[in-house]
């Protein structure tokens, strides 16, 4: 079924929020994975098995899942309250993402200073550019999924464009977070 423009207006900002949540989950997943595989001192026995592109893979799988959730679940939640208007939800998503990225990277930085020696994950967490790369990878995954939905006739062109806009705000939030983190580390 092809979504109408009214459907798009209602669900795209919600999708923005979910995408923000997905990326937040992604960041938390890295935090959890870092602790699980590396421990506090990088001595966990499974650390060598952690894929280098773990974050990207996590993002690629979480964000399509978020789109699916948006279509089937979140639309039902948002409709009774009426469609959200404007770009505020997008901006809010970006702020959430930036803040989470900032706080997470700061916590990694503090952990590194506390332990005094960098694990592989810890070193990667300190580099702002890695955060940018991860967020952009997630954003590209979102674009791919949105385009796939359009290809399959699940979304109109307007729906596709709104989802694409949404992916940008998320990426912007991620980049802002990474830049802020880098400055904070200095």
């Amino acid at each position: 079924m092809t979504a109408s423009f009214a459907d798009v207006s209602a669900t795209a900002p919600v999708a923005g929020g979910i995408l923000a949540g997905a990326v937040l989950l992604l960041l938390l997943a890295e935090n959890a994975a870092s602790r699980l595989f590396n421990g506090h001192r990088g001595s966990a026995r499974f650390s060598s098995y952690l894929p280098r592109n773990f974050l990207a893979v996590a993002g690629a799988s979480l964000i399509p899942a978020a789109f699916l959730l948006e279509d089937d679940v979140m639309a039902a939640i948002s409709y009774p309250a009426g469609p959200p208007q404007g770009h505020i939800p997008f901006a809010a998503s970006a702020v959430i993402l930036a803040l989470s990225s900032f706080l997470y990277c700061r916590s990694i930085s503090a952990e590194r200073r506390r332990t005094g020696s960098g694990t592989r994950m810890g070193r990667r967490g300190l580099e702002g550019e890695i955060r940018v790369e991860v967020v952009l990878t997630a954003s590209a995954s979102a674009v791919i999924f949105a385009a796939s939905m359009a290809w399959l006739g699940r979304a109109s062109t307007e729906a596709l464009m709104r989802m694409l806009q949404c992916s940008f705000w998320l990426a912007l939030g991620g980049i802002a977070g990474a830049i802020a983190t880098r400055r904070a580390a200095i």
Binding site: L136, T137, S156
Partner: protein, 534 residues
């Protein structure tokens, strides 16, 4: 031996990248030629801009003249027997509203028997242009990435499948820029001359490019010491000669240095810059739609690419300066074209809207900045980001161009061209002199049959642009006596369904009308009440 680019990156594996560029060039040429390849007997157009270029090119080839005469205007002493985007350059002689550059090249294509491949070929030069720019700034890998990100963009593919000058002009601008960068590194006067010629050709095709050319010249003045006087001369002389030739042609055709359409467009654009407050919503809408809605990934990657470029070592001054130059292009494009909500499709998220193709150089700049980001990602081992980014662009393009979502995709365009060409063929099979009254079907029919434009006072009240550009008619007072006379003389009179006032007027006067599938949405008008039924 590995050469070192200005960005300090070695040209390792150059033959491999050249092979990739060659393959991409062929792929782009084929995709840009989709409608030319799938509609062999095409004689129809989507935009009136295409039609005026086509008509004047055919006139140039067949009659050796830029001007089309209108016998019905002359006979009845009126001005509405013409196509929409034409101007009366001489007494009762009409020529294209747009720049004559593409007209000349399409006429050349007609002589060679490949008129519909002219735009795809010129557009595909953008592959070489953007590769050269990316390569000179950051290395061949960045060059191929920039080409991969820019050339498959839906707007580029779509506009290249039409007879429009936007993509060819931007492609030649990129080629000029790339050649200039290469000339400054290799100290080659031949590359500089090629760049100057490409720049002149870009200006010939679309004089609005002058804004970006001025910026490029400002950049050249800034970099004059590193470029050198000899190279600057080699670059500027062919460009200046082409520019003088273009303006001379404009003076001959329109009596001014710019073509009518470009002058009017410039006027509107700069007026828009002066009164941005009145159109604040439009100014905000433009970046939201055309920057973020069409190319969100490029916008995000481009931001990161800018950070990478600005943080590059001081010896890469060119990269840092050029990244700012590219952002100037982006901002200027948005400022000039942002406040133009009157343009068709401005508020609609559709790639066939007239606006999207004005932003081609903005997308090229973003693609170049994005390629810097992806090159940096590759340097750090982030292959997945590169893979997904390129896949995202290709998939978005494929979904929009061939998927089931957009009514204006390439498949739809192909079917429309084929259908209209077919009914037009049926229409022209009968040699009876024919006149069609219409608002919009002039883009398919003008200069094959006589076309009378049917814009009324109501249209003029709704849109000042209509009042300024098109003659206004009263169907009852102006057209009915004329139609009666033409029917009496054996003319075939047709009315398009986009002129309902005239249809109603004719019915009210007792003229039988018939509509058949053979002629699309045209009504055939019969003289006597005993003619064929409604």
């Amino acid at each position: 031996m590995a050469l070192i680019t200005r960005g300090g990156h070695a040209e390792e594996g150059a033959p491999f990248y050249l092979l990739l560029v060659g393959l991409l060039w062929v792929a782009c040429f084929i995709s840009y030629s989709y409608t030319a390849l799938t509609v062999p007997n095409r004689s129809s157009f989507l935009a009136p801009d295409e039609n005026n270029t086509w008509c004047v090119a055919r006139q140039l080839k067949e009659e050796g003249s830029f001007f089309i005469n209108s016998p019905l205007n002359e006979r009845f002493g009126v001005k509405f027997f013409r196509g929409r985007l034409f101007v009366e350059a001489r007494e009762n002689r009409y020529t294209s509203f747009n720049s004559p550059g593409l007209t000349l090249l399409v006429a050349l294509g007609m002589v060679l028997g490949v008129p519909f491949f002219v735009v795809p070929f010129l557009s595909s030069l953008g592959v070489l242009g953007i590769y050269l720019v990316g390569k000179e700034l950051r290395g061949p890998r960045a060059g191929i990435l920039a080409a991969l990100l820019f050339c498959p963009l839906p707007t580029v593919v779509y506009a290249s499948n039409m007879v429009l000058d936007s993509v060819p002009s931007a492609a030649l601008f990129l080629l000029a820029w790339g050649a200039l960068l290469r000339a400054t590194r290799t100290r080659s006067a031949a590359w500089a001359a090629l760049g100057g010629f490409s720049l002149g050709l870009s200006f010939l095709l679309r004089q609005a490019t002058a804004v970006f050319i001025a910026m490029l010249l400002a950049w050249l003045a800034w970099e004059r010491r590193s470029v050198g006087r000899k190279l600057i001369c080699s670059f500027l002389v062919p460009a200046a000669l082409m520019a003088v030739g273009t303006m001379g042609l404009n003076v001959y055709l329109y009596g001014s240095f710019t073509s009518s359409g470009q002058a009017e467009g410039f006027g509107r654009s700069f007026l828009g810059m002066l009164v941005p407050v009145a159109d604040l919503s439009a100014l905000l809408h433009a970046p939201s739609t055309y920057l973020l809605g069409y190319t969100p990934l490029l916008a995000a990657l481009g931001l990161w690419g800018t950070v990478v470029a600005l943080r590059s070592p001081s010896r890469h001054r060119l990269l840092r300066g050029t990244s700012l130059f590219m952002w100037t292009i982006i901002v200027v494009t948005l400022v000039i074209y942002g406040p133009r909500p009157g343009t068709w499709g401005f508020f609609k998220l559709t790639l066939s809207g007239s606006m999207a193709r004005y932003f081609i150089l903005l997308y090229a700049s973003l693609a170049l900045l994005s390629s810097i980001a992806l090159d940096e990602a590759l340097r750090r081992g982030g292959h997945l980001l590169v893979l997904l980014s390129v896949a995202a662009i290709l998939l978005t393009s494929a979904a929009i161009s061939f998927g089931p979502t957009d009514a204006n995709n390439l498949s739809w365009l192909r079917d429309r061209f084929a259908a209209i060409s077919s009914y037009k063929e049926a229409l022209l099979r009968d040699p009876t002199p024919t006149v069609v009254f219409t608002r919009r079907q002039d883009k398919d029919l003008y200069n094959d049959v006589e076309v009378g434009l049917c814009f009324t006072e109501e249209d003029a009240a709704r849109s000042p642009e209509v009042a300024a550009l098109f003659p206004i008619v009263d169907p009852r007072e102006d057209l009915l006596p004329m139609i009666e006379q033409l029917l009496g003389e054996g003319w075939r009179v047709m009315v398009a369904s986009d002129a309902p006032e005239l249809v109603d007027c004719l019915r009210a006067q007792g003229y039988p009308l018939r509509r058949s599938a053979e002629f699309g949405s045209l009504y055939l008008v019969f003289e006597s009440p005993s003619g064929e039924g409604m």
